[in-house]
């Protein structure tokens, strides 16, 4: 099967393929065995044959129990293997570099922390763990890179993430694999894996205003600073050092200020109200796009003293 598979271009691809091949061998063997036995019986006990048919109607309990228990044990072994691999696939390393992805009918918008923007393409460096933080502007999409053996639905109204470490230079197809309407099949693009030096050059060449600076600009433009600014007369929380901290809420519970919390604070401010404040912050749903939210998050993150990576509870 190696030859048919898409190229293995991530650290995970090899392990996934190994599991696939082992399962293929196992199920293949069993299928062939069943077919051989079936055909053998069919020939030997065809109607006109004179094969011995004494005691034909015996049922042996031992046999039954054996072919109940053996597949069960096999399944449990496969399950264990698959789960351990899977939890690796779903837990990004702590040092993974974030890149932001916004899906909409029918394109992928990518924003790098340095402000580089791409549409329907994604440039990543070789050998460095990358963590995509993804959300959708409209319906559910799905970010799928066969060469990385990774895939994750992209949902409206929340963040999902996907990580990988690319291991091979080249261009690989990026596909939308959750049906999302008319041009679902055209919502495709390319992932380009580059040597770190080339990547650095690419970043330079495409550097725009950094995502955090864009966020700072928006923070003024959307009027956030009117309430959250230091001169503001409105009683609103100071957002310095918010990111990653633990926020006490009005209902007595506590929450970690991660990407999702900040997004919800902007788009659904009533969902979780910070303790000690009146719930007067307006909702920005429908007024600003998901890419604006990502810029704002990056800005708030940059106002955080120590760089700490966000871990969303998945």
């Amino acid at each position: 099967m190696m030859t048919m598979a898409p190229p293995q271009a991530s650290t995970l691809a090899g392990s996934v393929d190994t599991l696939f091949d082992v399962m293929l061998a196992l199920t293949g063997t069993i299928s062939v065995a069943v077919f051989v036995v079936m055909i053998f019986f069919c020939v030997k006990y065809r109607r006109r044959s004179h094969a011995d048919r004494s005691n034909a109607n015996q049922t042996r309990l031992g046999v039954e129990v054996a072919w109940t228990v053996v597949p069960f044990l096999m399944f449990m072994a496969l399950f264990g293997w698959s789960i351990s691999l899977w939890s690796r696939m779903r837990t990004p390393p702590a040092d993974a570099a974030p890149i932001y992805v916004v899906a909409k009918q029918w394109m992928w918008k990518v924003q790098h922390p340095g402000g580089q923007r791409e549409i329907d393409s994604l440039h990543v460096p070789l050998g460095r763990p990358i963590r995509l933080v993804m959300t959708s502007q409209d319906v559910i999409h799905d970010f799928y890179v066969p060469a990385f053996r990774q895939k994750q639905d992209v949902l409206p109204g929340r963040y999902t993430q996907l990580w990988f470490t690319a291991t091979r230079e080249g261009e690989y197809p990026l596909l939308c694999s959750q049906y999302c309407g008319t041009d679902h099949a055209r919502m495709t693009g390319n992932v380009t894996v580059m040597k770190p030096a080339d990547y650095a050059r690419w970043l330079q060449a495409h550097a725009g205003t950094g995502l955090a600076e864009q966020g700072a600009e928006r923070f003024r433009r959307f009027g956030c600073s009117g309430c959250h600014g230091s001169q503001s007369s409105v009683h609103a929380p100071d957002l310095d050092g918010l990111y990653g901290s633990t926020v006490p809420l009005a209902d007595g519970s506590q929450v970690r200020a991660d990407d999702r919390y900040i997004r919800d604070s902007i788009m659904l401010p009533r969902k979780q109200v910070a303790a000690g404040y009146a719930p007067i912050m307006p909702s920005y749903t429908g007024r600003i796009g998901e890419d604006d939210v990502l810029a704002l998050i990056a800005y708030l993150k940059s106002r955080h003293a120590t760089t700490e990576t966000a871990r969303e509870q998945h």
């Binding site: 209902d251 659904l268 009533r270 969902k271 109200v273 719930p279 909702s283």
Partner: protein
Amino acid sequence: MSTESAMLAQQFDDAAQQREASALGMWTFLATEALFFGVLFAGYTVCRVRFPAAFAAGSRHTDMLLGTIETAVLLTSSCAVALALRDVQLGGRRVAAWLLVLTAALGLSFLVMHGFEYYSEYREGLIPGIRYTQQGPLAGPMQLFFCLYYFITGFHSLHVGIGVILLLVMARRTWRARFSAQYYTPLELSALYWHLVDIVWIFVYPLIYLVGRAG
């Protein structure tokens, strides 16, 4: 007319078999009903866990007094239908018929009260998608509460409506002596249905009317 063998359908061997089949059919049907409402309650639970404050606030907009009266009305009606059945089992006819009419009337008054509730909610602007004028902090997610509120109570009222018609038909049949102490399966099954409608309401009442008021 009212003897059991006269009512025997051709596919059955005897009256006992027919009775067993009808009862089992009704219980199976009630199992599907439980799942119909189960989905709605599951949806309610999920949304409420996500937005406890909004759900409590939404609940405070409902009419506690009417809700309580409605509960009492339904419970009384369930009692009336049980008495009617008992009367038939003991050979009665007239009292049973009147009790069934009473049950139907109670069901109808339940629907009327619910109509009033809906109307005042309409005036308050609490109906998402039709007239929703709520402002303020929890207005957004509170719509989820009201979507579920209308769906659950609407679907329940549909059941009450069907039950009222069913009970009136049964009252008429009882009056005309179509049932006897030996044969009363349809009446028994209708009563069973009515109890289900009642039991569902016993779940709806605390979920919709009481949650926001506890704390």
